[in-house]
Chain length 152, copies 2
């Protein structure tokens, strides 16, 4: 299983860039560690912090999310639902993150681990000279349940 980030990693990466370790940044990361596999928005994080009685300003949540993304700890994703969402990255930088299957009926997001895109990326490099660093793949369709529900 892929390992993920710790609070210590956060501290180290902050130090590398003249940034300070603060309780706010720590608790924002902690929220993600406590909710693995979820795609949390700024509002989600803000609400979860409130539930934990460690409320912090919404602006600070936004600033923390952006910083954590810059540090490579979080990954920003857009599902087209009107707000940016985030998930924890895997520690291994050679491992591309998974794909997302988005059900167009119920909105559910399913993770799919697989990486068959290496061939495609090689092809892109050959044909266009473009050097791929990362990719984002979203599949739209119907989940098993919504397919079943649609058969009535």
């Amino acid at each position: 299983m892929a390992e993920t980030f710790t609070i210590t990693d956060l501290k180290l990466r902050l130090q590398e860039r003249q940034h300070k370790m603060t309780p706010q940044r720590q608790t924002v990361l902690q929220i993600f560690l406590d909710h693995p596999g979820e795609h949390l928005s700024a509002e989600d994080v803000h609400g979860l912090l409130r539930d934990k009685r460690s409320e912090i300003g919404l602006a600070t949540v936004y600033r923390s999310l952006e910083l954590l993304s810059e540090l490579g700890i979080l990954q920003k994703i857009e599902f087209g639902d009107g707000c940016s969402r985030y998930e924890v990255n895997t520690l291994d930088p050679t491992q591309h993150h998974h794909h997302h299957l988005i059900c167009t009926k119920c909105g559910k997001v399913i993770e799919f681990e697989e990486d068959l895109l290496d061939d495609l990326e090689r092809d892109i490099k050959t044909k266009t000279g473009f050097s791929v660093q990362d990719h984002q793949v979203k599949f739209f369709g119907l989940c098993k349940e919504c397919q079943a529900a649609g058969e009535n």
Copy 2:
């Protein structure tokens, strides 16, 4: 070469759904036909219409873009630059649209025609039961020019 939509297609699809053909909807589609391969935002379309002396209300542009997307004539894309963009779909519904290579340095968007994802979609169906209808693939990296510029 893949054929694209015409004003007649628009008229037909509108009729199928109790919608009316209006000069505004027609000129919005015409803008896309006049700018093939471009990824236009609502503001872009609004500006281009102004240049053509056929200015229409911005709200109407938004409403037309949404309607044209629902009719399957336009495709909505998000490049993460703060606004939704649109491009004309291909007429052939079996043909998946191309991929986008987004340069993280200069922001240029390059089109890449290829579809190696059929295997992956079959795999998804087998393993998760999810039935893929469409996909959106974005590759992030450096274009040829920015790679060259970075070698200094």
